[in-house]
Every structure is written in structure tokens, then in C-alpha cells.
Amino acid sequence: MIRTTLAGLRAHRLRLLLTALAITLGAGFIAGTFVLTDSLQAGVTRQVAASADRVDVAVLPRAGHGKPGEAELAAIRRTAGVAEAHGLVRGPAALVGKDGKVAGDTPTTGVSVVTGRLGRTAMTTGRAPAADGEIALDENTARTRGFAAGDTATVLDSADRPHTFQVVGLFDVGVDQELAYTGAVGFTPDAARRMTGEKGFAEIDVAAAGVPPERLKAAVTAALGGAGHRVLTGDELAAELARVNGGNLEFLTLALLMFGLVAMLVATLVIYNTFNILIAQRTREMALLRCLGATRRQVFGSVLLESLVVGVLSSLAGLAAGYGLGAGALRAGTAFGLQSAPVDATLTPRTIAVALAVGVLVTVAAALLPARAATRVAPIAALRTQSEEREFRAGAARLVIAGLFLLAGAGVTVAGTRMPPGEQALFVVMGGGVLIFCGVLVLGPVLVRPLSAVAGWAPARLFGVPGRLAVDNSRRHPKRSATTTIALTIGVTLMTTLSVITATTRATYTAQLDEQFPIDYLVSGQFGRADAGGALPREIAATLRARPELASVTQVRGAEARIGDAKGRVVTYHGPYTVDLIQGGMRDFTAGGALIGSNTADSLKLKPGDTLTVTTAKAGVQRLKVAGVYESGKALVSGVVVPEGAFETYFGRLDDDRVLVGARDGVTAGDSRKAVEAAVAAYPTAKVVSTTEVRGEFDQALDTALAVVTGLLGLAILISLIGIANTLSLSVHERTRESALLRALGLTRRQLKRMLSVEALVLGLIGAIVGVVLGTAYGWAASRTIATDVLFRLPVGQVALFVVLSGLAGVLAAVLPARRAARASVVGALAAD
């Protein structure tokens, strides 16, 4: 029996090739994901180890406690067994770019560069700063901001005073995500303390004088007494750094695996369909085996064995492909500077196990039902000459099951959209989506007939006889067509869902922006400044008010305070701005009154007229009367809003956080922009953004996200197209004699090819239609879980494009099968038994 199976496999090599390709792609993507993330993780671990290797013991502040300072450092230096100890300084020190503005949205981080035995900063160019007037920059910041060793650069100290330095070298931040994000400026330890104004150390590194790390750790812990700092050995430090900085790799793995799973799901459908068709075509072969005495079990086993061989071979190919894919991604990452050091691709036993297991399991599982069908072939079937076409009838059971799935799915989905927006609602909606999908899967064969009538309406009229025959053929095996098209439906559904969500988010955001920012420019400082006061001197607003090009200037400032029992923010504004209220009014908005956001009103159960306590350092406990409530997230301000005079009593005279600027009507964008920039030119911390720019950046971010996700979903679509090609080529094979008959009756080669193309077109369109309908519904449902008042948008152009592209892709998938069908000789095909 095994020999028969293997002979069968060899005979159907070509027919199984496309199936194998589907598995290879899916398993390859999963293997590639693991190769990529494992390698990156290995790179992180290696870099961390190299850096932490120099340290024997490290002292770190415990979260929520103070940092170790000079006293602790001195105590450690006095401890027996300590050869050397250095405190690492770390704090904001804003680098000023060549345009005279601080670089980036957050200030760069100033760090102390230690040299010698405990030197952990990896200099890549030049040398470490050795004198007060010298700095080193991290490579990425130097590149993006256009600095090189030898340049002079300005850095702001903690009071925003500019200091000039000489850049003497560049360094690599290694795996430190925080430094990679903000950019880093390296100083000598003294300069670092002066510039950042930090009193404590982010870390104290200790080198041992011939003492084992564990003993030194105990000694240092004792020396620090009960200060509550964490003391780690070098190895423990390495492990911690690897854990902290490898965290986002896990997210990357999960995200990529999601796409891998979708691809595998599609591959499962493709494989299931292929085996089903192969079994149907080999009915006589199976029957003959049964006639010759093969048991049902043997027939079942032989089909499963076949799938096992296909699964193993294609998973192995997938593993190889995945390794290549991962290695390629790593090389591309290095080339584009996404990771600093080149990393070798690693193939772990886990990767091998997962790729093989997934590939083989999916293949064998997909072949189970077809194998069972094979056992049902009666021996008598071998004696029939022509395998008759069986009419598909929608059984009551099928309708009932599909109905239950659809009802449950619709119910769950609607429930999800009724829930308060959030992750939970999204998961409920996704669950509903899975149920609906199951329903469609079961109902598919029933849907094929009406849908092919819809999708085939135009082709049947446009392409004459070949067109009509093609539409007939597309619904000839409803189950087969349904499985083929549903594979495509998965990809199209997800794409449509995403484009609906993107369009909806874009529309909603734009509308909110228009509502919230009835302004043209926003002047703001960098985020992440530690102190309470704003970053913008009040003179900026004064200068802006003096410009004739500008019509309105509003200053917004705020400070931390205790609101009720929790930490919060109190803000005020000065200028021609009114807060839109949803409750209460501005009448009580006088000293002792306040406006609160709807979030605060909900959580503290406050309404206009109620009293709210605000505690500030300067004014102590204040009882404020709620004058009105604005909708949180919809106003230009956030927090507890108090009148300007009251604010100064509570906090003193603070600088501005933001200045909102409106241009005068009739002034060109270029002129008003110039006026704003001229007014803030003297203040390096003041950054100007126009609301059009904000919108543009947001649009771009959305487009990028959509493009990336679409690219990843492309794999699933590709596999489903392989499915269409596969089904068609198997059908072509099955209909060899039929095609020959048509050719004998006068159908030209071109017409025969067109017939198959149209069939593929119809299949593609059916898949796309279902996908677009489901995707639109789920795009809507999912955007309801983001926020309640979204502006639903259906990107009609994009969705229409999906439908057209699916049709075209189908036609493309038909090219090879059609060519094969057309090439067959008429006589040969008719003679074939």
C-alpha cells in the first residue's frame, strides 16, 4: 500500500506542487519570524553581555525611591574589595540643532561617559570627552542632526541656558531603548552633573579588586545599609538589561505570528481543497484499490500518508525559505541602519520544531476529511465509465448550522459595538467576526450559485459563449468554488476592514482637529521637561501679539497639583479662547470656580455646583466650585481649568506651556508662518507646528501603517491565489475531454483560454464581494470599539480597487492552467479514457 501511495505521489507531483507551495509560504513566514526575532534577541543579549561584562556589581535605584548620590558612592568606594566605582549621571540636556531649535520632540538625554576599566560607552568615532568643553554624540543623533566629530554644538542646561561644546567623538547607544529614542549627549562626569542638574546617579558601577562578584555584592549591600537600593552582580545586570530591552521584540514576534497564522489558515483551506479534488478525481483509482481488496483503513491511511509526505517536504522547504527570509530581513535592517551591529541569522531548535510541526499538522489535518471521503468510495465505482456529476443540494443541517453561526456572530458583534469603546469591546467584535466567518464557511457552497450569477453577470454578457460556459463552470462544484474563494475572502476581508478603519480614523481625527484646533499654529516646548513651569517665556506671546499678520494669540499654562486624592493638572489660559461646555456655564468661572473635563466629572462624580478640592504647594487646600464641564479630549485644554488670576495665586507666575496662534484673514500661509517663526527665533526651546503639518504627519503615519499591514496580508492573498490556480489547474485536468470536445466543436484556443480566465475572474470576484461586504461590516464594528462618535467612512475607491484587483489576480492565476488546457491536443484528449 505504501508503494502504491508513493507511486501516486510521484504521478501527481505536479498537481501537488502548488499545494506544497502554499504550505511552504505559510511555514516559511512563521519560521522567518522566529529566525528574525531570535537573531535580534541574540544580538541584544550579546551586546548587553559585552557591556555588562566590565561591571562586577551595579547599584540601581529602586522604583519610587530616591537615586543613590555622592554619599552612597563614597561609601561604596570605601568598601573593602572595591577597586573602582563610578556613578552614572543621566538627565535631560537638550541638544540644539543646526537650525537653532532644540533637536527632536523630547530633549536629548545627557549621560556621563566613564573611561577606563568601567568604561561601558562604545565609542565608534573619535574619543570620549576628556575635558569640560567636550562632548560625544550618539551616532544616530549625529547623523540625523548633521553633526560630526570636530563640530561645535550647543546644549541647553537644566535652566535652558545655552552652552557651547566641541564634539570629540561619536558613540553607539547599544540596546538602550530610552537613549535610542531621545538621542544622547555624552559629557565628562562633572559636566554631566552640571548640565543635567541631577543630584543622584542612575546607576553606580563597581569593579572588584580580586573578590568574587557575589561576595562584593554582599559587601556593597552592607555598605549601603538600608537605603533600599538594588544591588546586582554583573550577570544579573546583563539579564535584567536583556529582559527590559528585549521586550518589544516579543511584541514584534506576536504581531508577525498573527499574520503567519492568517496565512496558515488560508493555506489550510487551499490544501483541504486540493486533497478533496484529487480524491474526487481519483475515485476510480480508489475504487479499483478497493476492488483489489484494500480495506477502508488502508485507503484512509494511504491518503494521510500522502499528505504527511507533502507536509514534511514542504515544511522543510518552508524552513529553508524562512531562514533565507529572516537572514534577508536582518541584512536589510543593517543596511537601513535599523540595528547598529550586523546580526547573524540564528536557527534555533524551537524554530525548526515550530515550522515543521505547524506545516505538517496543518497539511495532515486538512487532509483528514478528504481522506474520510476517499474511504466512502464504493468498489463498484471502478466499473462506471464516466464519473457522473453530482448535484449539490443544500442540506437542512448545513442551513441550520450556518444560520446558528451567523446569528450568534451577529449577536456577539452587535453586543461588542454596544459596549463602551476599548480593547474588550474590540475582542468581543473580533469574536463575533470569527463566528460569522464560520457561518460563511458553512454557507459558502449555498452562496456560490447566487453570487456567481452576480459576479458573472457582466462577463457572461461580455465574453459570449466562453463567458457563459465559464460562469456555469464556476458554480459546477459549489463546495470546491466556495473553499477556493473563501481563501481569498479572508485576505480581502482583513484588507477592507483595515482600510475602513483607517478611513474612519482619518475622517474622525480630521474633524476633531478642525474642532479642537481652530488655530493655525501651535508654539510649544519639548515634552518631558521635569519642572512644573512651562518652557516658553511669556515674552514669546507678547512678541506674537505685536505681529500684524496674526489675529489671535492664546497662552496656555499648567502645573501639577492634587485633585481630590489623586495627582492631576491644573491649567489656565490667557487670550481670546472659550472652552466649549457640555454642562454648566461660564457665569461661575471666577476666582474660586473651575471647569472640569467630562472624565474627571465621571470619575469624581461631580456636576456643576459641586465642590472640588485642589491642593497646591503654594496655596494649600483650595475648595473650588465646579462652574462647568467640557468634553474631555475635545477641548484645547485638559485638566482642571481655573481663571488666570486664581492660577497665579495657586502656583505663582509660571511660563507658558503652549501658545495658540491664529493668522489674520487674508494673510498667506507663508507670511503668517514667517511671522511666527521670527517671533520665536530667539528661543531655542520654542517649536512651531502648523496644524496642517500635524494633519500631514498623522496622515502619513496612517498610510505607513496601512501599507505595512497590507504588505503582510499580501502573503495570505498570494496563498489564496495559489489556491485559485490550483483549483483551476485541477479542474482543467479533470475537464480535459470536455475541453477537447469544445475544441472539436469549433472553440478556438483563444476562446478556451478566455473561458478559463473568465472562470477565474468570477471566482476572484465572488471572493472579493464576500470579503468586501464582511470587511465593511467589521470595519464599522471595529471602529465603533475605538470611540463612540466616530465618523464612519467607506473608502469606496479603495474597496472597488480591491474587487478589481482580486478579479485581475484571479485571471492571472488562470494563465498557466489556461495555457495548459489550450495546448492539449484534441485527438489525444478525446482518446484518453
Binding site: 464516466q386 456529476e389 470536455e738 470536445l741 472539436a744 469549433g746 478525446l830
Partner: protein, 255 residues
């Protein structure tokens, strides 16, 4: 319908030639593996005549028919359908010729399973984009005697009925010649007789030219003339055949 061994007389008047072969040879494969299926066949088929081709298995009957119909190319020699020399035509020209001037009936697998009987009959006309000659179509369908089964799919028809639909399809385009390769090979004698009678009627009443390959002396006796092939050569022919004369000739050939 009665089955008689009587052959009807040859047609009167000046007979034109519908299909003619001249020195046709056909070699499959090359070198040692070469099979000479036809070794130089000269034969003509008159318009409005019903001719049967007979011969032992492997004698080249099907091959000759395929070459005559333009389904296969000849190795050497010439084939004419009407005034058209078909050797040397391109695949596309052959396809057009087939669809406009030739009809086919095969031993098995004659109908498209997805189409109804009527749709199958009209199929060649539709492929050609030709208007059906409704009167002819009605007559054909009446002669086939399947008026009440026109809406059925092939799977719902008996073998004989299917074959009659196939003949009707071949007739509907009014081709210059119909080629039938063992049209009764898969049928029992009763169904076979129906089909053969129908073929003969269409020759008598519609003036159709038919060339039929068969193994069955009774089937051959429906024809006006029987030509005999052996080893790729035309060896003899019988006019106004009866089952007995055909059988005798066959015995002589195989001896």
C-alpha cells in the same frame, strides 16, 4: 422502429465529393518507435452519402477519421473538405473550418454535463455566433424525438438519448460532413438501432453527408457504402451492404 438488413440503393444524379483523401500517410513517433498508422490512403466520400469505415482493431480507422476531420495533421498526402485543401491550415483556420463545416459524434463523452440537451444542441451555433435555422432545428429535434427531454441534463438521459442529442447537435449546424467514431459502441443494440436509423434518416431527408467508423456489421449495414481498412491501407469496399455481406468481407480480411 424496425431494424432491417436491407441497404437502400445508391443516390442518383452526379455525385460531388464532400471529403477526399489523397495518398494520406500518418506516422506516429520516429525511428524504431515509429508506427505507420496510415500508409497512403486514397478515398472520397460523396455528398449526401452515408459511408461506413470498417477494419480490424488498430487498422487506422480512427486515425483516418481524425485526419479527414482536421483534428490531426497528416504526415504526407492531402485532404480536401469540399473545395478546401485542409493540409497546411493553421490551428485557428482548422478550428474555424470544423466549427462551420464539420460535425462530430463520438463514442463516448459527447455532451457537456453542465448544459441541458437543448443547450448542447445549440452549442456549436453559439460558439460560431451563428443564427440558428429555426426550421431546421425544429425538424432535427422532431426527428430526434426528444422534444419532451430538451430541458434535461445529460446525466438524466440514457446513453441512446445522449447519443441522439449528439447527432442532433451535429446536424444543427448543417455541416458539409458529419464524422462519427463508433457512435453506437457504448450502446445496447436497441439504442444503437435508434441512433443508426436516425443517422440514415438525416441522410435521406436532410441530404446530410455522414462518415461513420464502426466495428459492428449491423451498424455498417445502415450505410450506403462500406470501405475496409487493413494495416493503414484501404483494401476493399462494399456497396449497398447488408450485415451478412459486411461480415463475409470482414472474415476474408482477417483470414
Amino acid at each position: 422502429m424496425t431494424v432491417t438488413g436491407e441497404a437502400s440503393g445508391p443516390r442518383t444524379g452526379p455525385a460531388t465529393v464532400a471529403v477526399a483523401a489523397q495518398g494520406v500517410t500518418k506516422v506516429y513517433g520516429t525511428g524504431d518507435a515509429a508506427v505507420h498508422a496510415l500508409r497512403g490512403v486514397d478515398v472520397g466520400f460523396h455528398t449526401g452519402a452515408f459511408t461506413a469505415i470498417m477494419g480490424p482493431s488498430g487498422s487506422g480507422k480512427s486515425t483516418l477519421m481524425h485526419c479527414l476531420a482536421g483534428l490531426d495533421t497528416v504526415t504526407s498526402g492531402q485532404v480536401r473538405i469540399g473545395d478546401t485543401e485542409i493540409t497546411g491550415l493553421s490551428d485557428n483556420e482548422l478550428t474555424l473550418l470544423r466549427r462551420d463545416r464539420v460535425g462530430f459524434v463520438f463514442q463516448s463523452f459527447n455532451l457537456l454535463p453542465t448544459l441541458t440537451a437543448e443547450q448542447n444542441i445549440r452549442l456549436p451555433l453559439e460558439i460560431a455566433g451563428r443564427q440558428a435555422d429555426q426550421e431546421l432545428l425544429d425538424r432535427v429535434i422532431r426527428t430526434v424525438g426528444l422534444r419532451d427531454r430538451l430541458g434535461h441534463r445529460p446525466a438524466e438521459l440514457s446513453g441512446g438519448q445522449q447519443q441522439r442529442v449528439a447527432v442532433a447537435r451535429a446536424l444543427a449546424t448543417k455541416p458539409q460532413v458529419i464524422f462519427a467514431d463508433e457512435p453506437t459502441g457504448n450502446l445496447d443494440s436497441r439504442s444503437g438501432a435508434e441512433v443508426l436509423a436516425f443517422l440514415r434518416t438525416s441522410v435521406r431527408e436532410l441530404g446530410q453527408t455522414i462518415v461513420m467508423v464502426t466495428h459492428d456489421p449491423v451498424a455498417a449495414s445502415y450505410a450506403d457504402r462500406v470501405v475496409f481498412l487493413r494495416d493503414g491501407l484501404l483494401v476493399t469496399e462494399v456497396l449497398r451492404p447488408t450485415a451478412q455481406t459486411v461480415l463475409d468481407t470482414l472474415m476474408k480480411l482477417e483470414a
